[in-house]
């Protein structure tokens, strides 16, 4: 049986971000892309499930950057059996969650998985998270903020994190959709030599898909948060800074 993992590339928010002259998108030329970190956890959780059940993991992604191959080859190197890339006239486009979900639904239906996993959220999902959106369009049960799962006798047990350390364990009928916050264990590491080997031996299946309607989220204007409330920046050598911090703590009776 099949478990689908949906993977997306997103702007690396650790890097400095710039806004395009249009004011409604990032300056995509200045962006470096990484796999959405939660999608990496979704892949890990899928691989753990599949190792226990013998299911086949299929990694699926929409190539909005022209750089998705690396992520999919890495997924194959980690243990996914197949990788499918959707291409179309959306390269360089900020794809809304709804538009992405509509592109993904026919592919997911064709694969007939018993489970779809993806990251709980993404840095750019302005119109909401992908997992519940897919669940609504597919008509399948779902859970987000998942931190563990188990397939037992055709049913799925899911641990969902609430707040303050509380969790909720749900039993869902299959097929189902999960938004993964964190896999049961840290995503596995795969050496680059293994990825290179996979690049020589495996192929990524490409599907050219038709798009229609608005693809990008409707945005009036992007801006940086106001500088107000910015911290007073302490400068100097490490020891000067340390002196200053100790002074600050003493002044407040904290030392």
């Amino acid at each position: 049986m099949t478990i689908v993992v949906v993977m997306e590339q997103v702007p690396d928010v650790v890097e400095e971000l710039a806004i395009a002259p249009s004011g409604t998108d990032l300056d995509r030329d200045a962006v470096s892309y990484v796999v959405n970190e939660y999608d990496d956890h979704a892949l890990e959780e899928a691989l753990l499930l599949a190792e226990a059940t013998g299911d086949e993991v299929v990694a699926v992604g929409i190539d909005t950057t022209g750089e998705l191959d690396q992520a999919l080859y890495t997924a194959l190197a980690k243990g996914a059996r197949r990788a499918i890339k959707l291409t179309g006239d959306f390269e360089g486009t900020w794809l809304s969650t709804r538009a992405a979900a509509r592109l993904l639904v026919p592919v997911i239906q064709e694969l007939e998985p018993r489970l779809v996993l993806t990251g709980v959220q993404a840095p750019d999902d302005l119109d909401g998270q992908l997992a519940p959106t897919l669940a609504a369009l597919l008509g399948w049960p779902h859970a987000s903020v998942v931190i563990g799962s188990q397939l037992v006798d055709g049913a799925l047990q899911v641990r969902k994190e609430l707040w303050g350390g509380m969790t909720m364990t749900l039993e869902l009928e299959l097929p189902a959709v999960l938004g993964v916050q964190a896999a049961r264990q840290a995503p596995r590491y795969v050496p680059i030599s293994r990825v290179r080997q996979v690049m020589r031996e495996a192929t990524i299946e490409t599907r050219d898909v038709e798009t229609s309607g608005d693809l990008a989220p409707a945005i009036m204007r992007l801006r940086f948060p106001e500088e107000a409330g910015q911290a007073e920046i302490l400068t100097g050598s490490a020891s000067e800074i340390a002196d200053r911090i100790i002074e600050l703590l003493r002044a407040r009776g904290l030392l």
Partner: protein
């Protein structure tokens, strides 16, 4: 009469969460500008007593054993049924663990627009404009809300609770549970509360918190030493807890614990919105991070743009020397 502003009441077994009152406050402020009624949507089992404390013009109450916990499917199906029958101007849903399961599902099922991670909502030139926090809190997006009913998934802690004192609602209307609840694909639900932790970080006066910048588990020792020297307890942002370096009881943020210490000393924490939600009310925040644009500096009182190890070692030298 303008279309109502609907608010999903988030609660756990009848205990409402803070964000519910924040969204009711927001709804009231919007309502004051356009004369719309505020409608609270309360689902649960045995929660009539809660309905009587909700400050709204109307509380719509749906009670059913399958709604005892606000589980994803049951809540989404019930909410979509009510919203479809009587579309509001806005449906306000918290962007929490429970709300995230519901907002995007309902918006997709009804084919309504959704604005997630909302941290601001105001009327400009007679039009509603929402502001959403994107890209790890580094970018804000202003979004015009058009004439369609719109779902807003709002960040906890972003809006003021207007009336802190619960006041009785105008009316309470009980509705039948939707027939779809009979065909749920969610079988059982078990709630687990955390076991007593070794340290209660919510009671700590001083916290040293570490994030991804700490780089490796071995480096935690330095942070632990610094915490001890400062008389503080060690806490962490989510990635370190996910990696298993520290227990969940030490996690600060949206899905972890909310803390309000006298000192929050953040080492190598960039300050994702989910983390800031859990610590921004600390009395004194000092943050050390390599990235001068790290969002943590927007809530910190003092910031240091430097290598955290150099700063931590220099501090330790003085405190222990």
């Amino acid at each position: 009469m303008a279309q109502q502003i609907a608010v999903l009441v988030e609660h756990l077994e009848g205990q409402p969460t803070d964000v519910t009152f924040e969204l009711l406050g927001l709804a009231r402020r919007i309502a004051n500008t356009n004369g719309a009624p505020v409608e609270a949507l309360l689902f649960g089992q045995g929660v009539r007593h809660l309905a009587e404390t909700i400050p709204a013009d109307r509380v719509v109450l749906v009670e059913d054993p399958r709604l005892r916990y606000l589980t994803p499917e049951a809540t989404a199906v019930t909410l979509a049924t009510l919203l479809r029958a009587d579309p509001p101007r806005l449906a306000l849903i918290p962007n929490t663990s429970l709300g995230m399961d519901v907002a995007a599902w309902v918006a997709a099922a009804l084919d309504w627009p959704l604005i997630a991670y909302c941290e601001g909502l105001e009327t400009r030139d007679g039009q509603l404009v929402a502001t959403a926090q994107l890209f790890g809190g580094k970018i804000l997006a202003d979004v015009l809300i058009d004439d369609r009913p719109t779902v807003i998934s709002a960040l906890a802690g972003a809006f003021a609770a207007d009336a802190m004192q619960p006041e009785p609602p105008g009316t309470i209307e009980r509705r039948d549970p939707p027939s779809e609840l009979a065909a749920l694909h969610t079988r059982s639900v078990v709630l687990e509360r955390p076991e007593a932790a070794d340290v209660d970080i919510t009671r700590a006066e001083k916290i040293v918190a570490v994030g991804r910048g700490i780089e490796s588990k071995d480096n935690l020792e330095l942070a632990e030493q610094l915490a001890q020297a400062l008389g503080a307890v060690l806490a962490a942002s989510r990635p370190l807890v996910d990696a298993g370096w520290l227990p969940r009881s030490r996690q600060v943020g949206k899905s972890g614990l909310k803390v309000k210490p006298k000192l929050y000393f953040a080492l190598g924490i960039s300050g994702a919105p989910e983390h800031l939600e859990g610590m921004k009310d600390a009395e004194l925040i000092i943050a050390v991070n390599k990235d001068p644009k790290a969002p943590i500096f927007s809530v910190a009182d003092y910031g240091v743009v430097a290598d955290l190890f150099e700063v931590a070692e220099a501090l330790l030298e003085r405190l222990e020397g």
